[in-house]
Subunit: 415 residues, 2 copies
Amino acid sequence: MALIIQKYGGTSVGSIAHISAVAEKIISLRALGHQLVIVVSAMAGETDRLVQLAQALSATPHPREFDVLLSTGEQVAIALLSLALLSRGCAACSYTGAQVHIRTDSAHNKARILGIDSTKIQADLAAGKVVVVAGFQGKDDAGNITTLGRGGSDTTAVALAAALNADECQVYTDVDGVYTTDPRVVADARKMPTVTVEEMLEMASNGAKVMQSRAVEFAGRHNVPVRVLSSFQEGTGTLIVNNEANMQHRAVSSIAFNRDEAKLALHGIPDQPGVAAAILTPLSDAHIEVDMIVQTMSGEGTIDLAFTVHKRDFAVALIILEDVAKALKAKALMSDQYVAKLALIGVGMRSHAGIASQMFQVLGREGINIQLISTSEIKITVIIHQKYVEQAVRALHDAFQLAVETETEGAAEGC
Amino acid sequence: MALIIQKYGGTSVGSIAHISAVAEKIISLRALGHQLVIVVSAMAGETDRLVQLAQALSATPHPREFDVLLSTGEQVAIALLSLALLSRGCAACSYTGAQVHIRTDSAHNKARILGIDSTKIQADLAAGKVVVVAGFQGKDDAGNITTLGRGGSDTTAVALAAALNADECQVYTDVDGVYTTDPRVVADARKMPTVTVEEMLEMASNGAKVMQSRAVEFAGRHNVPVRVLSSFQEGTGTLIVNNEANMQHRAVSSIAFNRDEAKLALHGIPDQPGVAAAILTPLSDAHIEVDMIVQTMSGEGTIDLAFTVHKRDFAVALIILEDVAKALKAKALMSDQYVAKLALIGVGMRSHAGIASQMFQVLGREGINIQLISTSEIKITVIIHQKYVEQAVRALHDAFQLAVETETEGAAEGC
C-alpha cells in the first residue's frame, strides 16, 4: 500500500464527462489498496471566465479580492470530483486550501506555501476516504484567501506530498511525459523515463510547459518523487528525480527551443561599472522581462551587450533602447525579431567535455549561423535565425542520438 | 452616523452592470457618513448553474459537498462587489461566511446560524472600510462549509444586524416594498410603510415572496428593524417592526392569496384519537406537505377533516387518501384542485371584533361560496373556487379600505 498524491489539471476536469473519468481512474487505483490525496485545478475555462468578470470591473483587480474570486474555481472542482466519487460509492471528502490550513505568505496572486496542517487529511485517509484538495490556493496568517499564481496546483500537490511524506506525487497533464524535444518537430522524439529536477528547470525556462518551475524546484528541495503522466492515455510517464545518480550517463538528454524571443544588442558601449544596469533598469521599469543576457568585449575599451525579450515586448524595448544607446554613446544598436532560442540540456554535460564544440560543428555543417551563445553547467543555449530552428533541432536530436534508448533507461521504466 | 446592514439578492447583482450600480448606491450612502456591511447572494443564474453541474453527477448530491459547491456562488459575488467598490476608490473588504465565523449547526443545505464573531468586521468598519459578506453560508464547528437553504442570505443579513447591533437591516429585492395585496390583481394596492413581523410571517406562508420567513422570524426574535427596498427604484420601502405599538390601528392590513393549492376532504370518519395522524402521516411519508388543516364534527359521532396540498402533489395525495378513506371507513372522499386560498391579515384584528363576519358578508354579496375557513389570531383564511379569487381580493381590498393611507401611516414614512 502506498500513499499517492495525484494532481489533475483544468483540462483533466474540464467537463462532467472528464470529471467522471477521473473519478473512475481514482477508484481503480484505490481498489489496489493505495491511499489517495487528489489535488485539482479549476475546470478548463473557468479561471478565464472569472478573470473576465473581474476585468470588466477593474483593469487591475485588487489582489486580495482577485484571490477571493479566483479561488472559487478550484472549490467548484473539488466539490464536483467529490460528488462524482461519492455517487460511485467511494468515500471522499473535499477541502479548500484554507480548510486544510495551507499556510502561505500574504503575497496575493503569487503566494508561497509556508506549511500545511495535515491532521484532517491523515484522519480521513485513516478512515478510508479519498481526500480531494483544492489546488492553487491557501490562506495567510490573517485568514485571507491567497492564490499561488500560474501552475500553483502543481505546487500544492508537491507540498502535500512533502507534508504527508507521500510515496509519489503524480501530476496528470495533457501530455504523457517529458520528451527529448517537441514531437511535433522531431518525429522520433522520445519520451524520457526519468529526468532530473535541474534538467526540468532548464527545460521549463525554455518553454517546456509540462510542469511549473516553482513546483519542480519545491520537489527538488523536499526530495519529492514526481511523476508526470497523461490523464487521457495509459503509461508510466516521466519520473522527475532529484538524484542524478539514478540517471543514465548521457551527456545531452533533451533539446528545448522557442520562437517567442527577439534579440537586441548594443555595440561599443563604455566598459565601466553600472553600464549593464543602466541598460536593463529602464526595461525592468517598463515591466519587460529580459531572458538571455550575453556580454563580450569589443576591443578599444568598449563592450557589447546583447539580450533577448519576448517578441510582444520587442517594439517597446527598441524605443527604450534607442534612448539608452544615445545616453551611453553606443556605437550601434542592433535588433532582430526573427530569431529563435535553442538549448541542449543534460546533467551529463558536467562530466562530458566537448559537447559545445560538437553542437557548434553540427550547426556549422547545416550552414546555420550562431548569433549568440550562452552556457550554464547543464545547458548550452544559442540564438539562431528562426527559419532554421526546426532544421537545427532535428540535426542535433540526431547527432546526440536522443531517439535511442539506453540500457539504463529501459530498466528505469515501469512503476 | 448609523450602522446599516444592506442585503442585495441575486437579481440585484445579476450582471457586471448591476454590480456597478449597487457599488454606486453604496458609495452614495457611505458619503453620508454611515458605516456599511453589505451581504450579497450569488449572481442570478449562478446557483442554478452549480445545481445543474452537481445533478449531472448525482441525482441526490451529497449534502456536504453540495454546500462546498453552492457556497462558491456568493464568494464570486462578494469578490466582484468588492472589486467594484475598490476600483471606485472606496475601501472595501470581502469575507466568506467561514472567514467571519458565521457558526452554524451541521445541517448541510439548511443550516441554522448559532453565532457570529464580529471582531474582524468591527475592526474594518472602524478603519473606514465597507465590509462585504457572503450571504447564505457559514461553517460548523468542525470547519465544514454549510449553507442556510433558500433565502439564507436574508438570514445572514439579519443575523449580522443582530450581532453588530445595527441601526437598520435593509433588504434590497426586486419589489419596492410590501403591498396590501398583489398590485397585478388590485390596481390600487398600496405599499405599506410598516408591517409587523407577525403579519410578514402570515403573508410569507401565503406566498408573499418578499423575504424568507426564517429571516423575518430571526429579526423578530432579536428585535432587528428590517426595511424591504427595491434595488432598482428609489423609495423608503416597507419597515418590518417588532412592536405593534408602532402600527396604525387598522384591523386588516393586507390580503394574501395563492392559486397553488388543492383541497382534499374526508367526510364521516370515526371520531377517535389518532385519526388525524392516521390521515396525515402517509402524506408526510410521501414528502407531501400539508398546508391548511380544518376539522369539524359531522354529527353521528363522526368528523370531517379537510386540508390543502400543493397542486403538484394533488394526484399522489389523492391516491394515498383513497387507501386511507377505505381503511378508516370514511363516508366520502372529496377533492377539488380548482381552488384558491385567500387570507385577510392584520395584527389589529386582535382588538377588532367582527372582521370575520364582515369578510364573509363581502364574499356573500359577491356570490362567492366559501369552502373552508380557518382562523388564527391575526389571520382569517378561506378556500374558494379559484375562478373567484381576483374578484374576492378586489372586493375585500375595497371593503377594508386598504388603498387609503391613514394619518399614522403617513407619519411613519421617511427614513
